[in-house]
């Protein structure tokens, strides 16, 4: 694919261009072609420049509070010029309510102060390339399903009596406050989690939900790169860097809100198929 082309523009009269300049430079460093309009551009001027320069993305920056008027005016002008394939993103001093409203009105995404430039670059790359990240293969499989229980002994006896599944091993992970039992079932395992000690997170889960499905763990290649990519894309993480799980493999948890309510664990397996 050709290099992504981006127009960074300052609509209106706002003269604060530190953000626009820093982002221009960061996107250039990320391998994109970037044109910066300079200050005081009207929506018409911005769209004209975008069409002439054949850009994929327009990035709008305003810190003066004029975003509610000026950003939609750019989108409207793009429609008028039949250039609505150009993606519009924006940033600046923009309250959350306004950001949501703008995102409903044709602005693809609003980035507010504190956003790392890498997040914006990753977002542009993904959006322009239709969401396909070439770097990663689909995850291989579900490695295990975590189930919170009051007693491993009692629960394991249910699975052994009625499903003829046997506990393979039991491990205490003191620093995380859990005792873990693995029960292989085909190429997936059940992972029974029993609280260990007073402050176990499993106790909280049991108190709140009374036990049951706790998390799923997916097996991935190169967990660190994946975490990096996710962090850049704004995925909420519990673990920024991998730690060692009960199975001895590198693992990391995503925040439940990332997967819309399910706690997901990434696990980097070794290359052999089946369970470990």
């Amino acid at each position: 694919m050709d290099r992504i082309r981006v127009l960074i523009a300052k609509p209106g009269l706002d003269g604060h261009d530190r953000g626009a300049l820093v982002i221009s430079q960061a996107l250039r460093d990320a391998g994109m072609e970037v044109i910066y309009t300079g200050l005081r551009q009207s929506p018409q001027q911005i769209v004209r420049a975008a069409v002439q320069e054949d850009v994929d993305v327009i990035g709008l920056s305003s810190l003066s509070g004029a975003h509610n008027v000026l950003f939609p005016a750019v989108v409207k002008e793009l429609h008028k010029q039949e250039a609505e394939d150009i993606i519009v993103i924006g940033g600046g001093v923009i309250p959350a309510d306004d950001a949501a409203e703008l995102e409903r009105n044709g602005i693809e995404k609003i980035f507010t102060p504190g956003t790392p430039t890498g997040t914006i670059a990753a977002y542009i790359e993904e959006t322009v390339k239709g969401g396909q990240t070439e770097a990663f293969a689909p995850v291989k499989r579900i490695d295990h399903i975590g189930i919170a229980v009051h007693s491993i002994e009692e629960t394991a006896s249910f699975y052994s009596t009625h499903f003829q599944l046997k506990v393979e091993k039991v491990v205490d992970v003191a620093e995380q406050g859990v005792r873990v039992a693995f029960i292989p079932a085909g190429n997936v395992k059940l992972e029974l989690l029993e609280p260990l000690g007073e402050n176990s997170p499993i106790t909280q889960f049991l108190d709140k939900r009374g036990g049951g499905l706790h998390h799923i763990a997916v097996e991935v290649d190169n967990i660190e790169e994946r975490l990096n990519q996710m962090r850049k894309s704004g995925v909420a993480l519990i673990d920024d860097i991998p730690k060692t799980g009960a199975s001895g493999h590198p693992i990391a948890f995503l925040h439940p809100k990332a997967a819309h309510g399910t706690l997901v664990e990434l696990l980097e397996g070794d290359d052999q198929d089946g369970y470990v």
Binding site: V93, P95, P116
Partner: protein
């Protein structure tokens, strides 16, 4: 007798005279344990080296402060920048702040006013009343200062390219209130060079812009001698991403350019230099910031004495306003900003600022609410009245670290200033984009350090909390824009059109030739010509600057 002993005696005499004229706030000052606090503390031995470098408070080179008693005599002016929407709403906020114990006003104008467009200009789309109050004509200015006595309050106005027009309006309001010109006190920012460098509200090219500035110097020298004619600003240079050294250096380089322009225009240094004021940023690095203010005073005093042969001590005294750094406020966990602001403000106080604006915690998100504006003001009041920081002069003076930083900042700033001299001075360096490039380089490096986690910003790249609650934000009522437009329409129909046109024609004539432009601008303002009309008239003659 040794020189330093004479210097000490001279200082003592002046100090005693000062104290007779204006006693300190209290008879004596004590710590919390009731230990007596001296006015100022000195090294064990006062020698010539000490006097050349630090000196006595109120004496050259003013490293330790420009007054003999500093905050023991009078606290800094607490001056909160405010303005939004209509003149009427802003007038209400001003009167609220004065009621809360604020001691000076500071007007924020909206961008159309700052760039010389009326509210009904197509260029003003979306910007009317946003970052400050919308002023189209004298009528709005009268409303802005309704029930505020311009003979009693001092007003700072953040206005640059259109400063001459807004100053004329302020003076015209004073006229109407019956306040004599010489009693009018305040400051206009009027610093166009940093607009080209960092802030972006320029209109005309540098040369005619410099003429407007020196016209203001001359006008105020004659007519309004208590008005600060310029506030040479490092603030925005720093906000744009410069380092403390660059802030100091580029501000001084700009100041040199203004002094040179005024001297070239035939003014005498000691006639205008006492009304030059400065405006610095109060940033995060506590000790470096305090040292920066000390270094600034020393650099300025030496420049004025050695380079410009100033003879009046008042020309050598660097007076400055500080605003704490807006760019350090985080949208994440906005309550933390209260703490940042307090520390930054403390550094400014330890650095001897003459006036101070403390930011509100929600400014990375929106304009401040009344509540957060009050907390910001209270922060200053706590520093002034509870911490004891105002009880002695220059409390950090003599710290090995702070003195070393002061020297180092001075040295590095002077190196930059020398380089800008070789580029032909600040005006030429601006045209060559030299400062702009330097600032951008620093801004980008800072961003990279942050993203590599080498620099930590609490709540942003460390110590984050998930699921933050969105705070209540200030909303400007958009309905006022229509009201503003219809009032402008009404004004244009009711005023004496011939008088306006004659005024604008005369202004253009003067602008094409010589003569001080403040007088014809004042005539236009009195006839209710608008900011846009006056600035357009000058655009026709001067042209416009594009970067």
């Amino acid at each position: 007798m040794e020189t330093y002993e004479k210097a000490y005696q001279k200082w003592q005499e002046k100090l005693q005279k000062q104290l007779q004229k204006r006693p300190e706030r209290k008879k004596s000052f004590q710590t919390g344990s009731q230990i007596e606090v001296d006015r100022v503390y000195f090294p064990k031995e006062i020698d010539n080296a000490y006097i050349n470098k630090s000196g006595f408070p109120g004496e050259y080179p003013y490293t330790r402060g420009i007054r003999h008693t500093m905050y023991r005599g009078q606290l800094w002016t607490m001056r909160q920048y405010a303005g939004f929407g209509s003149a009427q709403e802003t007038n209400e906020r001003f009167r609220y702040l004065l009621d809360q114990g604020q001691t000076g006003l500071s007007v924020a104008f909206d961008l159309p006013t700052q760039i010389g467009y009326d509210s009904d200009d197509p260029m003003s789309l979306g910007e009317v009343g946003k970052v400050g109050v919308a002023i189209d004509s004298l009528e709005d200015m009268e409303m802005l200062f309704d029930q505020i006595d311009l003979g009693k309050v001092s007003t700072s106005m953040t206005i640059n390219a259109s400063a001459a027009v807004l100053l004329a309006m302020y003076i015209a309001v004073a006229e109407k209130q019956g306040v004599p010109y010489e009693k009018v006190r305040g400051t206009i920012q009027n610093d166009i060079l940093k607009e080209y460098i960092a802030r972006g509200t320029y209109i005309y090219p540098p040369k005619p812009s410099m003429r407007l500035i020196t016209d203001i110097f001359a006008f105020c020298g004659e007519e309004a001698p208590s008005f600060n004619t310029i506030s040479i600003s490092g603030y925005h240079i720093r906000e744009a991403g410069s380092t403390a050294v660059q802030e100091l250096a580029f501000t001084m380089a700009n100041a040199i350019a203004y002094v040179e322009a005024a001297v070239e225009a035939g003014l005498k240094v000691d006639d205008f230099a006492p009304r030059l004021a400065f405006f610095f940023n109060g940033h995060n690095d506590f000790f470096e910031e305090a040292a920066k203010f000390r270094a600034a005073r020393r650099i300025w005093a030496k420049l004025m004495r050695e380079r410009f042969k100033a003879e009046s001590p008042r020309s050598e005294q660097l007076r400055f306003h500080t605003q704490v750094a807006g760019s350090t406020l985080t949208a994440q966990q906005p309550e933390n900003n209260v703490v940042r602001v307090a520390l930054q403000a403390m550094a400014a106080v330890l650095g001897g600022t003459q006036s101070l604006h403390t930011n509100s915690k929600d400014e990375a998100l929106s304009l401040p609410t009344e509540e957060s504006a009050r907390i910001a003001l209270r922060t200053q009041q706590i520093i002034a009245h509870e911490t004891g920081a105002a009880n002695t002069i220059d409390p950090l003076g003599g710290s090995y670290y702070v003195e070393a930083l002061t020297d180092k900042l001075e040295e590095e700033a002077l190196r930059y200033i020398d380089h800008i001299d070789t580029l032909g001075g600040a005006v030429s360096a601006v045209e060559k984009q030299y400062m702009q490039r330097e600032i951008h380089r620093s801004a980008y490096e800072a961003q990279k350090r942050l993203e590599r986690n080498e620099d930590i910003v609490v709540g942003v790249n460390e110590f984050r909390t998930e699921d933050e609650q969105a705070p209540d934000l200030m909303k400007v009522d958009e309905a006022f824009v229509e009201n503003q437009l219809s009032r402008l329409e009404r004004l244009k129909q009711s005023r004496d059109t011939e008088k306006v046109e004659a005024g604008l024609a005369e202004l253009k004539r003067k602008a094409s030739g010589n003569g001080n432009l403040m007088y014809p601008i004042l005539d236009c303002v009195r006839a209710y010509a608008t900011v846009g009309e006056i600035c357009h008239a000058l655009r026709e003659v001067f042209g416009e600057y594009t970067s």
